[in-house]
Symmetry: C2
Subunit: 334 residues, 2 copies
DNA sequence: CACAGCACCGCAACCGATTGCAGAATCGAT
DNA sequence: ATCGATTCTGCAATCGGTTGCGGTGCTGTG
């Protein structure tokens, strides 16, 4: 239905080859004919069919983006960053939501791989081996996940946790609970590392409170256990969990931050809107998407992969102090 | 890099044509050869290049989805519905975020149109004329917007508003404020219609409080004006605005629902997590995405457009009564 | 045993674009 | 006027599939 290169050629009175050249290598065709072609193309609203071009050049101008769950506000932010940057480079993006399911993650990736120049996998749930395999046969950039030899953009989880702990320690907290997320979460593992390192440095006690779904409901489920530890502050796997904690604590009549302090991670929009407003470690989500696109496009352009393999960007988190943290309440045993 | 149909043909010892047929029209090739082809395809991990197929058949197996702003939790829900349904039909989806900008909306749509079989435009900001034009040359399904002759899935805004008003009236409210969203919002216009109809039926006074950004900040900005009207209840353009209202009212020491009741629209996840939990009209967001896909796929399949043109699905809203609405406080003049 | 009928498979053209190669046209110089 | 050097443009092959058409070989019947 849309105009083809032949339509333009006919209208401009030239051959399709000339049209192709006039539009993509302007300096190789006569100015006069180029103008005619341009005019014809405009008149017909012509834009080359990227799929066809892709067959020849091996470049479709499309990239794929895979996320675990759009319902988690973290991911739309990343998607937005990817979108924005892709548009700048005139690249279209395929989006796939895996619903946190490893099997469909892998199958979606395989299906997408054929029709894109590269893939951005955000917080993938697949195993290191599976990811390495995928990366071996496609251009892949990981976001919020590190796998040997695969370019990635990650957040400085350790640093973020250090900031959180330092803040809590300064407020007098000496016993801090950690409410974990999914067991297989890569970032979760690294947050724990940072937490322990900081706890050791500050000589503070850290208690781990199991693994919960990375959701509001997960936070509600974790709240009572977190309180039962006797900790005066709780650091949650992410903001959603933290907000779930807030809700359950409020329901139980436990005051935040007077009785207990709560810290989240991510700084999703909701964090600033919760009551009390949530103290959290802001992760530059949108930026991570932007950088991932740049990295991926560089990989695609560079015929020599040596320069890219292993490239990784690490983004710093930033503690946003709001109203969910305060000076430690007197513990039972001072 | 990935295996082509010729590779499979060579390995199976048949011609490419046979491979093509064996995989897509299984009953037309001998069972034995079909098995050989299948085995070869599996061994090579072959999947047909959709772009190439699209050139011949005119079907790429891709659809495009355009949304105004992923940062508004309303849209990720729709996207998720689209995703899920598209996957069921083995269709891939291009996503574009227009950042609420009409110009980029139009240009993105044009860019996408060439490489997809059809488009889903969610809450488009473009004019009726522009949309009609787009729909004339592509398969288009609108979500949350109605344009003459273009298939669409919409929400029953009038019905939703009736429910909200009936609820507030039952609680004794006689003067109700409406905090409007973007001036050009199609759904906003229809909500107002429903509001006035319901207000008339119940003999209740309705005050419109300007137009605000459909965001948390918009709600904060609107709060004082809404209160100044003397209304005992406020209906907001969407949940984000309602939650913004809640925040500002709380900051001013105005109690919800004791002093004033607040009703939102959408029922985004955040609505149930706010304090107080927000009474709102739940819109089946995800479902709207699913239905849009079905509609679009039907259009694409049906060579005779007559049966589809004008098709539209209307989804009912459902009032979720939570804690932000209560019996009307005594107005100054009883 | 001959021949009609059928199932199965391959040849070749095609989709919409890109690109190496070579021919045509223009120009300048001798 | 002839020739060589440039510049510009068209021809044709190509990408990875799909599909109409025709050919091959087998089966079954008279």
């Amino acid at each position: 239905m849309p105009a083809t290169i032949r339509d333009v050629a006919r209208l401009a009175g030239v051959s399709p080859s000339t049209v192709s050249r006039a539009l993509s290598l302007p300096d190789v065709v006569n100015a006069a004919t180029r103008a005619r072609v341009q005019a014809a193309a405009d008149q017909l609203g012509y834009a080359p069919n990227r799929a066809a071009r892709g067959l020849i050049t091996g470049r479709t101008g499309n990239i794929g983006l895979v996320v675990p769950d759009l319902a988690n506000p973290f991911f739309p932010s990343v998607v937005k960053g990817v979108q924005a940057r892709a548009r700048m480079h005139d690249v279209a993006v395929f989006l796939a939501d895996t619903d946190e399911d490893v099997a469909s993650e892998v199958s979606l990736v395989n299906a997408l791989a054929k029709q894109v120049d590269g893939l951005i996998l955000c917080s993938p749930r697949a195993s290191d081996e599976e990811l390495a395999e995928i990366a071996a046969e496609s251009n892949v950039v990981l976001v919020n996940r590190l796998v040997e030899g695969v370019p990635a953009v990650t957040f400085d989880n350790e640093g973020g946790m250090r900031q959180a702990i330092a803040h809590l320690v300064a407020l007098g907290h000496r016993k801090i609970a950690w409410v974990g997320g999914p067991m297989t979460s890569w970032s979760g593992a690294h947050r724990i590392i940072g937490l322990y390192a900081a706890a050791r440095d500050h000589d503070v006690e850290l208690v781990e409170v199991g693994h919960f779904a990375p959701t509001y409901e997960g936070g509600m489920a974790a709240a009572d256990q977190a309180i039962a530890t006797g900790a005066t502050a709780v650091v949650a796997y992410n903001d959603l969990v933290a907000i779930g904690l807030l809700a359950r604590l409020h329901a139980r009549g436990i005051s935040v931050p007077d009785d207990v302090s709560v810290v989240g991670i991510d700084d999703i929009a909701m964090a600033a809107m919760s009551r009390p407003a949530l103290t959290t470690v802001r992760l530059p989500k949108q930026k991570s998407g932007e950088i991932a696109v740049e990295l991926l496009l560089a990989m695609i352009d560079d015929p020599d992969p040596e320069t890219i393999i292993g490239t990784r960007g690490t983004l710093q988190g930033e503690l946003m102090v709001r109203d969910s943290t305060g000076v430690a309440s007197d513990p039972a045993q001072p």
